[in-house]
Symmetry: C2
Amino acid sequence: MARPRQIDRAAILRASLAIADERGVDALTMQAVADHLGVTPMALYRHVENKQDLLDGVVESLLDEIAPSSDDDPWDEQLSKMGQAIRAAARRHPTVFPLLLQLPATTPGARRARARVYRSLRRAGVAADDLERVERLISTIVLGFAASEVSGRFRAHSRKALDADYAALEDLIRRGLAPYLG
Amino acid sequence: MARPRQIDRAAILRASLAIADERGVDALTMQAVADHLGVTPMALYRHVENKQDLLDGVVESLLDEIAPSSDDDPWDEQLSKMGQAIRAAARRHPTVFPLLLQLPATTPGARRARARVYRSLRRAGVAADDLERVERLISTIVLGFAASEVSGRFRAHSRKALDADYAALEDLIRRGLAPYLG
DNA sequence: ACCTGAACACCGTTCAAGT
DNA sequence: ACCTGAACACCGTTCAAGT
């Protein structure tokens, strides 16, 4: 428990995510983060603008956890893997993940994540004109489901039931997307 | 601006929603609600358990705003109207609405809202065994979109672009649901 | 350049006291 | 039965001061 000398933005965001995962996003206070890093709360303001900036940073850091699926897989497989990766990230960070739906899609991390989906869709045969719209539809559906399942909305449902729901959702997306896959 | 003598749970939730709509959910404090009602913050605790209970109540009150569509309309029309009603409610309450995705679906208001969709789906020909799953899929998709569009995720998009996105989403749902409509 | 001490305004909540 | 005053622990944030 020696105090780490390197306190920078990345370390602050890492500590913040850990606190939110362990004790919930409500326990994510400037003081808790400072304690975790062996520093006073005021020291954080050198590296983050304020609490909202810190929170935005934490939410955005989730995007980098959604691993790019292998480009070699067929379209179906890529959709499947992306869904599982997103659901797994949601489960790892149940109180922070739902905030992704509120994150402006113009941040660097959001752009990177979108670029990966664009590539998948292009290889699947989606026309250039439809690319952005299709990406918005898919990500909205998948994020909405993942947020719902980790944040209490489906609290009464077993993991097995949620998996079956998600499989049905994936089928629905596949059918719904058929016209775009030309 | 005479202080209303009737301070009960309903009045508290109404005042809370008004404050959140005007100044954002972050401005929804016990003190702000008390001020709005001409009372001290401590008086609220007679009618709500605590801040979280108040917030839950406010979120749940949104569900009652999603008007039941007319039973006479054909299935397509009902889906359309439900979507518009939900998006309109989201626009009226942009900072509170996204919390719907976190509200346990076991509250009375949530049950009522679901019952309405069940009836629609049954009339559309969805088998009894598929009813609950189909409802979960549809509401997840529509809530996810509505939350996204009012909470900054699509901040860069015009109202026209969002309407077009939603139309595409509705088409996608229709195609995806076809197998269930037997 | 980076962290700290002291201070401020605000927040949720409790409890005994008032009516 | 219902509201209030006083009080507490905690929160985000600023700023001058330390190293």
